[in-house]
């Protein structure tokens, strides 16, 4: 096999991995704080992409330059989707705060189905073309033909988001409160942390990055329908479990591993079974290392 082909697969895997990472962050952060797999998370990604599409169409009538359309429509979509995430938590999860974990999980699945069908009814079941809003950036000479401008934007954006998020979690008061809450919720309230506020912020941040992923990948693939969030969501969930659910670096690592695996497996083995590999990984990781690559094994102190 020639080396260029390998590199193309590598960068294609990196692209997928970046998008999974933006999504997986939300799963892992929410799990870390309230021990819930938020199955409606993929829908936020889809709604983010849809909102940006609608806003871009609206703004394009004003004759603005493309870059302004991109920035404005993305901004609206990101804020709108974060508000969605915030509201979903308040409506579907907060009332069940003291209920068994299974009830909340079922509520999450219900929310996911509801949002999918709502978008199906409000929009259409067909694939819609997605405008390529991303600006052209120069591709380094030696990578021409291997990677395109959009991929460069996707990597850079993801990297910037990861760095900002790491700084936020590590150094800000809210970040420290999040870590404390995920480690011991009762003790967190005993030092005066407003746990509801922490949970709300977690949903806001997770929804923001998910919507960002949705906008980026839709601009890259050029199409969208109401169902894109489901499969992407499940795969990002696999990535989060692979990396160790609850661990933020784990989610990023798991996403990159998953993206690469899918890309190489599709490129060298068969692209027909592309989606199968994610689930093979899920089964293997659950059998052999249930706590994930970077996850901490659940210890129970007596």
């Amino acid at each position: 096999m020639d080396f260029d082909y390998f590199l193309r697969l590598f960068f294609s895997g990196l692209t997928r991995g970046s998008i999974y990472a933006l999504l997986a962050l939300g799963y892992t952060m929410v799990y870390g704080i309230i021990k819930l797999i938020n199955f409606a998370h993929g829908e936020i990604y889809m709604i983010g992409a849809f909102t940006a599409l609608i806003m871009a169409t609206v703004f394009s009538f004003t004759g603005m330059p493309t870059l302004a359309i991109l920035v404005l429509s993305s901004l609206v979509a990101l804020i709108y989707s974060s508000a969605y995430g915030f509201t979903i938590e308040k409506l579907a999860y907060k009332p069940l705060r003291k209920a068994p974990r299974l009830s909340v999980l079922i509520s999450a699945i219900g929310m996911s189905l509801f949002l999918q069908n709502y978008v199906l009814l409000a929009q259409t079941s067909n694939f819609l073309p997605y405008p390529s809003l991303l600006p052209q950036v120069p591709v380094p000479r030696f990578l021409q033909g291997i990677i395109n401008s959009q991929q460069i934007i996707i990597f850079t954006t993801t990297a910037v988001v990861m760095v900002l998020l790491t700084l936020l979690i590590k150094f800000t008061r809210m970040g420290k409160s999040m870590r404390a809450t995920s480690q011991d919720r009762v003790m967190a309230t005993l030092v005066g942390i407003n746990v509801n506020k922490v949970i709300s912020w977690t949903f806001l941040i997770g929804s923001f990055t998910a919507a960002l992923g949705g906008i980026l990948i839709s601009s890259f693939t050029g199409q969208i329908n109401f169902y894109v969030g489901f499969i992407a969501g499940i795969k990002a969930f696999v990535a989060a479990v692979l990396g160790g659910i609850g661990s933020i670096p784990g989610a990023v690592l798991g996403s990159l591993v998953l993206g690469m695996t899918e890309s190489f497996a599709a490129g060298y083995l068969s692209s027909v079974y592309e989606d199968v590999f994610a689930f093979i990984i899920l089964v293997l990781i659950l059998i052999f290392k249930p706590s994930g690559l970077l996850g901490r094994p659940e210890t129970q102190k007596v």
């Binding site: 420290k176 870590r179 009762v186 003790m187 309230t189 005993l190 030092v191 102190k301």
Partner: protein, 235 residues
Amino acid sequence: MLELQSVSTYYGNIQALKEISLTIEKGEIITLIGANGAGKSTTLMSISGVVPPRDGDVIFQGESIMGMDAAEVVAQGICQVPEGRRIFPHLTVQENLDMGALLRSDREGIRTDLNYVFSLFPILAERRGQAGGTLSGGEQQMLAISRAIMARPKLLLLDEPSLGLAPLIVQQIFEIIKQINQENGTTIFLVEQNANQALKVAHRGYVMENGRITLADSAANLLSNQEVKNAYLGV
């Protein structure tokens, strides 16, 4: 300063506290002693708002704090060092202390208190950058107490600070409790199974059995009380 007026607390249908009444005056060290399962920790959790009482009233500085959630109670100036210490295991010692001062914004005061806890427990200064979970039991207890001091509480609730610690460390912890009370005038409510030690540092004490307060007296009197001796002092 703090008054519980016939407080009853339930876990589901099980009544854990049966009309508990007690008072704590400013500047006192009050201890609550009793056997396992008597309801001592529940009393503290009821005050802190983690397990809200169903009946009765909790008055702090003349105002009811019943129904406040735990974070609001902390904001009122009541801090708890819970049973089992509950150090945030993956935060560093420094970050654990920062969490204690979460609700404060007076940088100067925070720095003073940080130096103060490091003077009480110099070992914590050495271990500043280490994850809380890697400390020994005694060091974790020191950190837990320090974390609470960082909030500069008016009332400090301590739940079994001596549990599972070596006798020498227990001695040291009780010395510090006394010191905090004398130097800062912090009012302390101390829940203990180690009745002997607790009664030695406390001004007054309450004895709890099966969710009820059965005895209330000065610490000195309780130490010489025959029933208390038989039941809790192992003499």
